[in-house]
């Protein structure tokens, strides 16, 4: 089934679906004394987990052995981490002066040498690579940058009318960058020039996440208004919405084969609580798994084969869970 069609089926069935399976705890990583995790994500192959820790170090562990592989101490405050799609690069953004100065370093995950080093006038808090690893985009509270890595230069500076972007994503072919913006728009830009292609204003409240379908024709977005919307990437037209989600739609992603989607919910009452995740079967619109646990924070994850592997922080531990 084509991914875009599958997404439409998901949205048709979303309200009536019921969970069928549960999550499984795969690994537990004990953090150094006095250290907690502020942000974490998992490599696309599912073999590395990286975290920004409260002591301002970026730590990388093996998923298989739980061994600490690398500690990156930049002397600055890390603000975002992200692996390239082939996991050969790890981008780390730093906040040097809040709102005023930032930097991005890109490490080779074999040698851990710095391959690229960009300094910019504003820090970024969200990072995403293009699928081919040639471009990196970073979004801050007022600006979004796009860098061409082989050319070692910034190719676009995108300034929304006001506010910044909570989420951004490259289209699978790397031609477009979509942003979920604080001024309530979802915008699509030409990734090579930063020129605005379309702007979609759906809900009254800010969108918090945006993701492309694997065929690049459709965008999924959701946010504070507890609604998921399907947007035609080319026109910016909203083709479908599904309201009344169980929380703020904080993060969503579609599996590379287009068969599954994951939605992470943030509590509307306690904004810091990010502890609810649902895995959807896009072919029949059923919930494959629904994971909710008090006292934890769900961080980034990745689709590995037929399951979703994600990182969870709770107190002194970082745990890895899978939903199948």
């Amino acid at each position: 089934m084509r991914p875009s069609l599958a997404i439409l089926i998901l949205l048709h069935c979303l309200a009536t679906a019921a969970p069928a399976q549960t999550a499984r705890q795969e690994k537990t990583i004990d953090l150094p004394a006095g250290v907690s995790v502020e942000e974490a994500t998992i490599s696309h192959a599912g073999n590395l987990v990286v975290a920004i820790c409260s002591d301002h170090a970026v730590r990388v562990w093996s998923v298989r052995s739980s061994d600490l592989l690398r500690t990156i101490e930049g002397g600055r405050e890390p603000s975002a981490v992200q692996f390239s799609n082939d996991d050969r690069l790890l981008a780390v953004a730093y906040e040097i002066a809040i709102y005023e100065k930032g930097a991005v370093k890109i490490f080779d995950t074999d040698s851990w040498k710095v391959r690229h080093d960009f300094a910019d006038e504003a820090p970024v808090y969200r990072l995403t690579f293009s699928a081919d690893g040639r471009h990196l985009a970073g979004a801050g509270d007022f600006v979004t940058y796009i860098w061409d890595l082989p050319a070692r230069k910034k190719t676009a500076t995108i300034l929304p009318p006001f506010g910044g972007s909570a989420s951004l994503a490259f289209s699978p072919d790397g031609a477009w960058v979509a942003t979920a913006d604080g001024d309530t728009f979802v915008r699509v830009y030409d990734a090579s020039t930063g020129a605005l292609h379309s702007a979609t204003q759906g809900g009254l409240l800010e969108p918090m996440t945006v993701a492309f379908s694997p065929d690049g024709k459709t965008l999924l977005t959701g946010g504070v208004d507890k609604t998921i919307s399907v947007v035609e990437a080319a026109s910016g037209k909203i083709s479908r919405t599904i309201p009344k989600q169980p929380g703020l739609v904080f993060f969503l992603d579609v599996s590379p084969n287009g068969k599954h989607a994951v939605v992470v919910y943030r509590s509307a009452e306690r904004f810091a609580d990010i502890n609810h995740l649902a895995l959807w079967d896009l072919n029949n619109g059923t919930i494959l798994a629904d994971f909710q646990k008090p006292g934890i924070t769900i961080h980034g994850g990745t689709f590995v084969g037929d399951h979703y592997l994600f990182a969870v922080a709770s107190g002194k531990q970082l745990t890895l869970w899978s939903l199948r």
Binding site: I98, D141, F162, G163, G164, A166, L204, L205, A272
Partner: protein
């Protein structure tokens, strides 16, 4: 009466201003005058979110009769960096209620208004609460200020009485990771009497010209 330009030209003639530039003396003096007019620092920006909601009603009385919490009057004037009053600015604010909750279903504690002829504004509200999740985020009011010919200002107002600052916001402002300068932390004036105490906060806003 001599104009400022006349005075500057006289300074050049008498040697009290020396111009060491390949640009024309007229151009340098014009730039000098222009820089002199930038007498106000633009209000520092701050993050937009969370929970911005468009189409907020035109309303400067956000506090309903009987609302719990400390009554608050927010007021100020809008200027540009030359010190000129901006008379066509629109100010949109939003905040939590006194318990730290945003209204995402409706428009409680959300409003916008145009400044008056003197660039002045007033909002009647309550002092917002801390977020209930015990985060390090201080009590705050979100501002978006728009005016033709000026860069849109996105900022937040914080309260010097916030317990996080322990009475010394200049020293402790960075305890909130989103506050980059104590300039955004405003003193609180208590008025009324002990039976009907009210808080007043002034927040002058300075926009950058495009």
């Amino acid at each position: 009466m001599l104009t400022r330009r006349d005075i500057l030209q006289k300074c050049v003639a008498l040697g009290s201003v020396l111009i060491a530039s390949q640009a024309s003396p007229e151009g340098m003096l014009a730039a000098f005058q222009d820089r002199e007019k930038q007498i106000r620092k633009p209000t520092p920006p701050n993050a937009l979110g969370p929970f911005y909601k468009r189409l907020a009603p035109v309303n400067d009385v956000l506090r309903a009769p009987g609302d719990p919490g400390m009554p608050l009057t927010l007021s100020g004037q809008v200027f540009d960096t030359r010190g000129d009053i901006v008379t066509d600015a629109t100010i949109e604010i939003w905040q939590t209620n006194h318990e730290g909750y945003y209204d995402v279903d409706g428009y409680r504690y959300r409003g916008n208004r145009r400044v008056d002829k003197s660039g002045a504004y007033t909002f009647e509200s309550v002092i917002p609460g801390h977020y209930p999740d015990k985060s390090r985020i201080c009590q705050h009011v979100h501002y978006v200020v728009k005016a033709p010919g000026h860069k849109t200002l996105v900022t937040q107002l914080y309260f010097a009485t916030d317990p996080v600052f322990e009475g010394d916001p200049v020293k402790n402002y960075s305890r909130d990771p989103l506050i980059q300068t104590p300039e955004l932390i405003r003193p609180v004036m208590l008025t009324g009497d002990p039976n009907e105490v009210r808080a007043k906060v002034r927040f002058e806003l300075c926009l950058e010209r495009l």
